[in-house]
């Protein structure tokens, strides 16, 4: 029962997400929210390696694009059946992620961030310049929608919405179990102090690599879903701006919190869409808001909410202690 109470907010969220398409006929709204779900999956990857493990990887859009392009090329050019291509796209992203991680994780802190930033940019350049494979600046057109699973088809916006929602929910559940397990706690330990983590027996290199690889896997998953949802991909999805968008979603929602990525991504994506009429001026509102948020809620909206709840519980406890008012001797 207590577990259920603790999960009340997420369950309400899930219910709203499940019912949302029934209350709107506007395909555009559904499209925007679906896109936000896809980004949220990618942001979960970034949150794991950056927020929990403390290794700020700025190659994330690159891996997102690798997943997207792998799926696109396999289905369009190689005519591989959709779900096989989907699995292969994940494998390809994860393998490349492992190779990059093996080298990148030899660097630390700022240098790791700079190194991965460069890796991300190189991925962008390769996609942009390798015309023969990727279609270069023209991009890849006509990627198919997810193939039917048994009687369930995914050719409408709503069916795609539910498919992607399922992947998002699976991602959240996976993250919940991972971050609460002892292996997941080692990530927080590494963020805290890598050397201290070593002294208590954590193989920090191995754990950082695993965390990095899982993050690239999630980026690839989001990328593959993106490719078959939007059905057109261009090199811009691997651009540095995209990485920083992901980072912004994570920071706004709460870096290193379980629900931060969903909250941050949904909020910002919906906000950007509704401020569209202001065009580029919207950044004038956005920038200061972000600065204020980082100053007053360094752990984002979810982190701020948790703090607020903790403070309230503490006050409650204090009050009940006061009311009990059995004098237990001073000190």
């Amino acid at each position: 029962m207590q577990g259920l109470k603790k999960m009340r907010m997420p369950l309400i969220f899930l219910l709203v997400a499940l019912l949302f398409p029934l209350f709107t006929d506007n395909q555009y709204y559904i499209y925007v929210v679906t896109l936000a779900f896809i980004y949220a999956i990618a942001v979960y990857g970034m949150n794991l390696v950056g927020g929990y493990t403390g290794q700020l990887s700025l190659a994330h859009a690159g891996f997102f694009a690798i997943g997207a392009y792998a799926l696109g090329l396999l289905t369009v050019d190689a005519n591989v059946p959709y779900w096989l291509a989907f699995v292969l796209a994940l494998v390809i992203t994860t393998v490349i992620g492992t190779l990059v991680g093996l080298i990148a994780l030899r660097t630390k802190e700022h240098f790791f961030a700079i190194y991965t930033l460069c890796v991300g940019y190189i991925i962008y350049l390769i996609i942009y310049e390798w015309d023969a494979l990727t279609g270069g600046v023209r991009g890849l057109i006509g990627i198919e929608s997810p193939a039917a699973i048994g009687p369930i088809t995914f050719d409408t916006g709503i069916s795609n919405y539910y498919l992607i929602l399922v992947f998002l929910v699976l991602t959240v559940i996976f993250m919940k179990f991972l971050t609460e397990s002892i292996v997941g706690r080692t990530y927080v330990a590494i963020r805290n102090s890598e050397e201290l983590a070593q002294t208590i027996g954590i193989n920090t290199m191995k754990q950082k690599l695993i965390s990095f690889v899982i993050s690239t896997f999630l980026a690839g998953l989001a990328g593959a879903l993106y490719a078959s949802f939007v059905r057109f991909i261009g090199p811009d999805i691997s651009y540095t701006m995209m990485t920083f968008d992901f980072l912004m979603y994570a920071i706004v929602g709460g870096f290193g919190t379980l629900f931060g990525p969903v909250v941050g991504t949904l909020l910002i994506v919906i906000l950007t869409q509704s401020l569209q009429f202001m065009e580029d001026f919207r950044m004038i509102i956005f920038g200061p808001l972000l600065v204020l948020l980082v100053i007053f809620y360094p752990r984002g909206i979810v982190g701020g909410y948790q703090m607020w709840k903790m403070k309230r519980a503490y006050k409650k406890k204090q009050r009940s202690v006061d009311q009990g008012s059995t004098y237990e001797g001073g000190d």
């Binding site: 080692t186 330990a189 201290l196 208590i200």
Partner: protein, 235 residues
């Protein structure tokens, strides 16, 4: 059980340890005395695999371990309780202890038994199990750091200046517990500046100055040694 022969360690060009040779027998409580910057922590970091010796050998139970990774050495039975009661402040007391079992997490039963044991040694930790480690007082933090080092069920534990910044009364408590841990069969290597309190519980000791061992001897010998008395005991 633990044997360093002619170990030298460098930080860049600076030689932090020069030709350190020391032994710790099974079941002993050995203390390293020395001022700040003498090299006590570097000796510990070398034994626990955080620093690699440029020269000399480190043996643990007859096996050469110099340059092995720290995580493997914890598994082998070398526990390290680092200086300055380093904890994971955002985690609860219980979670800090749980992190200590990481290297030996396969054996759930032993882990549960060890947890009980640590709670018995430090009842305050049981009381505060759910509270954030960052909210503990200095003495409680040190107890948690000691408890966490024990959670990996080490054969030898390195305690790096456990008394630093603690009130005299708390220091005494901490040393009592270290002695108790030693009596239960865990070999202890203790680095201290507080020579008086440390020698009280030690079997033997070494005095380190500028990265070299300058005096060594049994508890009595060191207590009687004029230089040691002048420099560390203040008599």
């Amino acid at each position: 059980m633990l044997k360093l022969s002619d170990v030298s360690v460098r930080y860049g060009m600076y030689e932090a340890l020069s030709d350190i040779s020391l032994t710790v027998e099974k079941g002993e409580l050995v203390v390293l005395l020395g001022a700040n910057g003498a090299g006590k922590s570097t000796i510990f970091r070398t034994i626990s695999g955080l620093n690699k010796p440029v020269k000399g050998t480190v043996e643990f139970n007859g096996e050469s371990i110099g340059g092995r990774s720290a995580s493997k050495l914890v598994k082998k039975g070398i526990g390290h309780c680092p200086e300055g009661r380093k904890l994971f402040p955002a985690m609860s007391v219980y979670e800090n202890l749980r992190m200590g079992t990481y290297a030996v997490r396969g054996d759930k039963k032993e882990t549960a038994r060890m947890l009980e044991h640590v709670y018995d040694l430090f009842p305050i930790l049981r009381e505060k199990a759910k509270e954030n480690a960052g909210s503990l007082s200095g003495g409680q933090q040190q107890m948690l750091a000691i408890g966490r080092a024990l959670m990996s069920r080490p054969k030898v534990v390195l305690f790096d200046e456990p008394s630093i910044g603690l009130a005299p009364l708390i220091t005494e408590q901490v040393f009592d517990v270290i002695q108790e841990i030693n009596k239960e069969g865990t070999t202890v290597l203790l680095a201290e500046q507080n020579a008086n309190a440390a020698l009280r519980i030690a079997d033997r000791g070494y005095v380190i100055e500028n990265g070299r061992i300058v005096v060594s001897g049994t508890q009595d010998e060191l207590m009687q040694n004029d230089e040691v008395r002048k420099a560390y005991i203040g008599a």
